[in-house]
């Protein structure tokens, strides 16, 4: 199965040294799950302060400053992984540094829709899969 691991991080900024340490841990984690063949994709996002939210209402585009929901923890990045089942995904999530001071939300990817898109040529199937 494919799972999206959404990384929610506390809003406080990390200092330079701490940030570097966390980044190193992410690299280590990424290398490990690449070797095990579970890595599909990942990205870090710019802070929530840079977020813009868009809604279309009555044919008007409403643009507001800030994330969709103001919460204590903000979406900071994601990993897209291949895991055998939820227990395996939980095992991966628990190894992400963010799990220690923030939260990792696990969402199964709806592969049926993905397959439909591939079947109809809307998107290409992932070359590595």
């Amino acid at each position: 199965m494919q799972y999206m691991l959404l990384l929610y991080i506390p809003t406080e900024e990390e200092s330079g040294d701490a940030l570097k340490k966390i980044l190193d841990e992410h690299k280590q984690f990424t290398r490990r799950i690449t070797t095990s063949g579970q890595y599909l994709d990942s990205n870090a996002l710019e802070p929530a302060a840079t977020a813009t939210t868009v809604r279309l209402r009555d044919a008007k585009t409403l643009v507001t400053d800030g994330p969709f929901a103001e919460t204590r923890e903000q979406l900071g990045g994601y990993y897209l992984v291949e895991a055998e089942n939820l227990d395996a995904a939980i095992g991966l999530a628990a190894r992400i540094p963010v799990a220690r001071n923030g939260s990792v939300e696990i969402r199964p990817v709806n592969l049926a829709i993905r397959e439909e898109f591939v079947r109809e040529g809307v998107i290409q199937s992932r070359p590595d899969r």
Binding site: M1, Y3, A83, E84, N85, L86, D87, A89, I90, I106, P108, A112
Partner: protein, 416 residues
């Protein structure tokens, strides 16, 4: 074919065998919901056929075999959905290999342990875990579970549907957890079983009959776990704890439904047979260098059960056991129980001293049993005015009517 099984005994058979049969079928078809529907249909066929044609020699294998055919039929009908074809292929293959033979009942694999861990997976809401466990392992109907938990049947049905959908969509596995996660997951399973028991034992809502059934189902669940994981001591402790408490059920309330305290209970009304079994299980649970919290609580219940009269109670041993429990699970409620045991062993002053330490930390201020325990010790010491104040505070905080009625009675005894 054997004799014809009556409708009532097919019901008993359903209750007894549902968990085992469903667990085998989920393994065979790889889909929780499909397996459940197929098992329902197979039992419906049994109710129709067995009284007329006689009961098959291997009723369990018969149900599994019929359910598998029903599942294959369903998959064939849905085969146009591409994602179903894997399951179908697998089913037809196992059919050809005769993986589940109808020759012998023990040919049906016992997968209940996987079923328990799937139903009690922490990724499901706890109320859903409880409902699933009762539905699948105990073979309770949705309406019966709804009645027990005082929710409309439609609400309970939806709760079950959502849970099953999450199992399928989120990929909750059908397996026993790996060694490293086993003990944490066992804890969660046992917590579910104990919650079911407490709902049946001490909940104030619902009819007495329904509550009795729930407590019975919790004990049945614990028996299943003990049977499947006999080498683990803690499930024996959970089973013992529930057996020993449940054995006192008839003596716990008087004719008017008022609470009778342990020391005032008519011990001849305790269920001796159940106590004997509880004592045995409690013994097994304590045979380990590091007994768990259920084992220790069972050992405490065992001390009470062993005493022929209240004054024969070994309070020193009970205080020691509470001390042990406090080190395992440091929490003020356990400490309160420790205080009461110390009071009974070394005198009320010693108990009050521990209670005042709990109070100084600001814990349990809104817990009615803290005030009731304190009031009781003060009453025993003849400090009636202070006892009165504590009973009043307890009465303000108590929720259930039998408890309130009991406290009112005590209050009138100490009021001048």
């Amino acid at each position: 074919m054997g004799g014809a099984m009556e409708h009532g005994s097919i019901e008993d058979f359903y209750r007894r065998e549902h968990g085992r049969i469903l667990s085998a079928l989920i393994r065979a078809v790889g889909d929780f919901e499909l397996a459940e529907d197929a098992v329902q249909e197979a039992f419906a066929s049994a109710i129709e056929q067995w009284p007329r044609e006689g009961t098959p020699d291997n009723p369990r294998a018969w149900i599994v075999s019929v359910a598998r055919h029903k599942a294959i039929d369903r998959l064939r009908r849905q085969a146009r959905f591409a994602e179903r074809s894997d399951e179908l292929r697998r089913l037809i293959e196992t059919e050809r290999e005769g993986a589940i033979s109808t020759e012998r009942d023990d040919a049906v694999p016992d997968e209940r342990l996987s079923l328990i861990f799937t139903c009690c997976h922490p990724a499901l809401a706890q109320e859903a875990q409880i409902a699933l466990a009762l539905r699948t392992l105990c073979g309770l109907r949705t309406e019966e579970i709804a009645r027990a938990f005082l929710v409309p049947a439609a609400t309970m049905a939806q709760r079950l549907v959502r849970a099953k959908r999450k199992i399928a969509t989120a990929g909750i596995p059908y397996q026993t957890p790996s060694r490293e996660h086993l003990s944490a997951r066992m804890e969660a399973v046992m917590a579910v079983v104990y919650l079911v028991f407490n709902e049946g034992y001490s909940a104030t809502a619902g009819s007495e009959l329904i509550r009795r059934e729930l407590a019975g189902e919790a004990i049945r669940l614990a028996r299943i776990i003990v049977e499947l994981m006999a080498q683990e001591p803690e499930p024996h402790g959970l089973l013992a704890l529930m057996l020993l408490h449940d054995a006192r059920r008839d003596a716990r309330l008087d004719d008017k439904g008022e609470i009778v305290l342990l020391e005032d209970q008519d011990r001849s009304r305790w269920n001796r047979e159940q106590i004997e079994e509880g004592l045995k299980e409690a013994g097994v649970a304590m045979e380990t260098p590091q007994p768990g919290p259920y084992a220790i609580q069972a050992a405490i219940a065992a001390e009470h059960s062993r005493a022929a009269r209240p004054r024969d109670t070994d309070w020193r041993r009970i205080a020691d056991l509470y001390g042990m429990l406090m080190r395992k699970q440091p929490n003020p409620v356990v400490e309160l129980n420790y205080a009461v045991a110390v009071a009974m062993d070394r005198g009320c002053d010693a108990g009050l001293e521990i209670i005042s330490r709990i109070e100084e930390r600001g814990a349990l201020r809104d817990y009615h049993l803290m005030w009731a325990a304190k009031a009781d010790l003060l009453r025993r010491l003849g400090r009636l005015a202070e006892a009165e104040g504590c009973y009043r505070r307890a009465l303000e905080l108590a929720g259930s009517e039998p408890e309130r009625s009991f406290l009112r009675k005590r209050l009138s005894e100490v009021s001048s």
